[in-house]
């Protein structure tokens, strides 16, 4: 098999891992003002992702590094081209990450509330901007013959990309809220389910429009089928949540996000960054990639490491599988 093709899909898989996992972290972060009535509630929410947010966030580091190694030109074009958008993502991720660690270090409510605000903003900004970034990748951006982006920051804020951003924002929000309903007990669990029912409707409308737009404007037969699977999974997740099958709903949300990412990658293939001004300047899986030797080394590494990684990460989720509630927070020291 052509290693360039393989690595294109491995990169897709890594971004699926990142969006499915950090996606619900973002959702939990954004849900603080909706679900957290008091400090104990907000602590319950944050503790649903306490042991795992760091490992979830590491997926973006691994995805970024793998992109660098397998498709250096893609990495260089995308990261320099989306400079200010990525700056905002970085600032948000920094603010959010330290807030988890800092907010419980002091007892004053004012202290905690300012870090809560940083968690909310720090979750919403990347949830929106990752969608905007990938929307622009699929839509194509103006590139010169050295593959350098020649547009401006405001060119990135076009309707299609903004819809993509709104889609990821809502998908992650609902995904996170459903995650809360699977991980908590008591009143907060009930509230989470009810919120997911409300946000689910909006999510379905927005995500469906985005998938239709993608399929009509940039899609292929294959990407259309993947988009349909994503849409069906999203509706099924909504119905499962309506019936109170929280875990099924959560699983189906993960499927939705996974297939939405696959839709984008299938629309791209075999390009990785299409040039909107001149097809000759497009980056493809061939002209953006590393040498066969480097890809081969990387393939062996991934092949050996992947099962081990999935095993210990899966085990972590199993260790922290129990639901938590207000009683757990009140019983704990700190």
């Amino acid at each position: 098999m052509d290693l360039n093709v393989l690595w294109f899909w491995i990169i897709a898989a890594m971004f699926i891992g990142y969006f499915v996992l950090d996606g619900f972290d973002f959702g939990v972060g954004m849900s603080l003002p909706f679900l957290g009535k008091d400090d104990t509630d907000r602590r319950v929410l944050i503790n649903t992702i306490g042991p795992v947010w760091d490992l979830n966030e590491t997926w973006v580091i691994v995805a970024g590094a793998s992109l660098f190694a397998a498709f250096p030109e893609w990495y260089a074009t995308m990261f320099s081209g989306f400079y200010l958008a990525l700056l905002l993502i970085l600032l948000a991720l920094i603010a959010r990450g330290v807030s988890f660690e800092y907010r419980h270090q002091r007892p004053e409510l004012k202290w905690k509330k300012s870090f809560d605000a940083m968690i909310v903003v720090g979750s919403a900004v990347p949830a929106l901007l990752w969608g905007v970034a990938f929307g622009n990748v699929v839509r194509g951006v103006p590139l010169d013959s050295n593959f350098n982006y020649i547009g401006t920051f405001f060119d990135l804020l076009n309707p299609y990309a903004l819809l993509a951003g709104l889609t990821t924002l809502l998908l992650f929000f609902t995904h996170g809220v459903i995650f809360v309903s699977t991980k908590t007990e008591g009143e907060i669990r009930v509230r989470a389910r009810a919120l997911a029912i409300r946000s689910g409707i909006v999510t379905i409308v927005v995500a469906a429009s985005f998938l239709v737009w993608t399929t009509l404007a940039y899609g292929t037969l294959a990407s259309g089928i993947l988009a349909a699977v994503a849409a069906v999974a999203l509706i099924a997740a909504y119905l499962a949540n309506l019936r109170g099958n929280e875990r099924t709903a959560f699983g189906l949300m993960a499927v939705t996000i996974g297939f939405a990412v696959l839709t984008l990658f299938a629309s791209l293939f075999p390009d990785v960054m299409p040039a909107s001004n001149d097809v000759a300047n497009s980056l493809t899986i061939q002209n953006a990639s590393s040498t066969p030797y480097t890809l081969q080394v990387m393939s062996w590494t991934a092949l050996i490491a992947a099962p081990v990684i999935l095993l210990y990460q899966g085990w972590t989720y199993w260790v922290f599988r129990k639901r938590i509630g207000r009683a757990h927070i009140e019983a704990a020291v700190h």
Partner: protein, 469 residues
């Protein structure tokens, strides 16, 4: 105005700022996680409460510090593409692989098991829980190895060939890349220096409490541990630093010449090492200095009659080899950072040896001695920082030595204004977080360890509490 919006200058400042900042947290993470793992192992084996108290106490400081290391690390990885896209295109085929290895093998391990360690006290059996902190340690040390092999390629490019058509370096041997002689010396040098930073923290904290005559039952063993750790890690850091300078003279003779600010090639006794120099502001001529004859010859070649090439001679060679240009780094930076690194390193070892002497057989030293010891942590961190400033500034004007100049690596399409915005944003956010971080660590340190846990009267077991954010 335009001079201030030079993308190259601003990108260099941003990379310097964010990297130095990131590397304030990393050494403490690497050193402390190892230390905490050792304390927890001691508790596991002896069941003595003091070791559990020390595990929790230094564990808490470790965690306040850890989050900063993680989030500022993401910036590092994104920045290559954001600010140095031409560099990324040039080296990606070679440089990307160790970064990907770092993520796949080390970061995942570290990030997963740290979560298990923090929140797993009451959920995992004692032995398994101990294993989680050791796996975190393995992850953090492995990440250092991969990033140093990547850095070593910039200092001493190996295992590549140049593809003229694509205009880039291409990997020819992963084994050779991962055994770059610079990396093999720089990795242990850096890791042992991380242990020195951690030892410095323990010494500072213990000295502060002991000078107030409090928490004696935990802080006395902590001090002893810190002092021994400093002496051993200090000796090993020195040994490995010596290996590194041999490899450096081989790969980057200009860096060694710049470390000594030596303009003319010298041999034997003339290849002296100056401890202190006062020169004219342009750095070309010398007014006063204290010198040790033969020492530079020994450091560079391990012989007393070796020849060390001077800046002017190298400049001439490089001009012939690479074309016209200035091939020397900023001499006062390399000269003084090299001295501060070595000077502070040696001072730490001496202070630690002295500390072991004055506290022998449970003796209590005088107050002024504690006051010196308290400086161990900030100064060991400073030594670490100036060491990296030396390594990276000494590489200039090259981004990848002999292959790509720094000026040719910067993103051509990112404007000076955009970089100015990001530089200001990082400076403000990092500054604010530094204040919060410093206060939190200070508060945790001053509070001291929690009281000894009370074992269950029947089983004798200590009940582990649930950790929550």
């Amino acid at each position: 105005m335009n001079e201030w919006l030079d993308p190259l200058l601003l990108s260099r400042w941003q990379f310097g700022l964010t990297t130095v900042y990131h590397f304030l947290f990393v050494p403490l993470t690497i050193g402390l996680v190892t230390t905490v793992a050792i304390f927890q192992t001691a508790w596991y084996r002896t069941n003595k409460a003091k070791y559990l108290q020390l595990t929790h106490f230094f564990g808490k400081i470790f965690l306040i510090n850890f989050a900063m290391g993680v989030v500022t690390g993401i910036v590092q990885e994104f920045q290559f593409g954001m600010n140095w896209s031409d560099y990324s295109r040039f080296v990606g085929d070679v440089f990307g692989a160790p970064l990907a290895f770092e993520g796949i093998t080390a970061f995942f391990l570290e990030a997963t098991f740290i979560g298990l360690w923090i929140f797993g006290w009451d959920k995992l059996p004692k032995g398994l829980h101990l294993a989680t902190i050791w796996l975190t340690t393995v992850g953090s040390i492995a990440s250092a190895y991969f990033i140093i092999t990547a850095n070593a390629f910039m200092q001493n490019p190996v295992a590549y060939q140049i593809n003229e058509v694509k205009g880039r370096a291409e990997l020819t041997s992963i084994g050779e890349l991962l055994t770059n002689p610079i990396a093999l010396a720089a990795f242990p040098h850096t890791i042992f220096a991380c242990f020195m930073v951690s030892a410095g923290l323990i010494i500072s904290v213990a000295a502060w409490h002991l000078s107030r005559n409090q928490h004696l039952e935990t802080m006395r063993p902590a001090l002893k541990f810190g002092l021994w750790m400093m002496v051993i890690a200090g000796a090993l850091t020195t040994l490995m630093g010596d290996q590194l300078s041999l490899a450096m003279v081989e790969a980057q003779p200009m860096k060694m010449a710049a470390a000594e600010a030596m303009y003319h090639t010298a041999t034997g006794a003339n290849a002296s090492f100056s401890i202190f120099t006062l020169g004219t502001p342009d750095g070309v001529s010398e007014l006063f200095s204290i010198r040790i004859p033969y020492l530079l010859s020994f450091l560079s070649t391990h012989t007393f009659d070796g020849t060390v090439e001077g800046i002017n001679n190298l400049q001439e060679q490089y001009t012939q080899l690479y074309g016209p240009g200035d091939y020397a780094p900023i001499i006062w930076v390399t000269y003084w950072s090299f001295r501060w690194m070595i000077g502070l390193g040696i001072a730490h070892i001496l202070v630690a040896v002295g500390g072991l002497w004055v506290t022998r057989k449970g003796k209590s030293p005088k107050t002024w001695i504690w006051k010196i010891a308290i400086w161990s942590f900030p100064l060991s961190l400073l030594a670490m920082s100036v060491g990296w400033v030396f390594t990276e500034m000494g590489r200039q004007p090259w981004l990848v030595f002999g292959l790509l100049k720094t000026a040719d690596g910067v993103s051509p399409n990112v404007s000076g204004l955009e970089i100015l915005i990001s530089l200001i944003a990082f400076t403000l956010l990092y500054g604010a977080l530094a204040v919060v971080e410093f206060r939190l660590i200070l508060k945790a340190v001053q509070k001291g360890p929690d009281d000894a846990p009370v074992p269950d009267p029947v089983s004798g077991e200590i009940k582990q509490t649930t950790t929550v954010y």
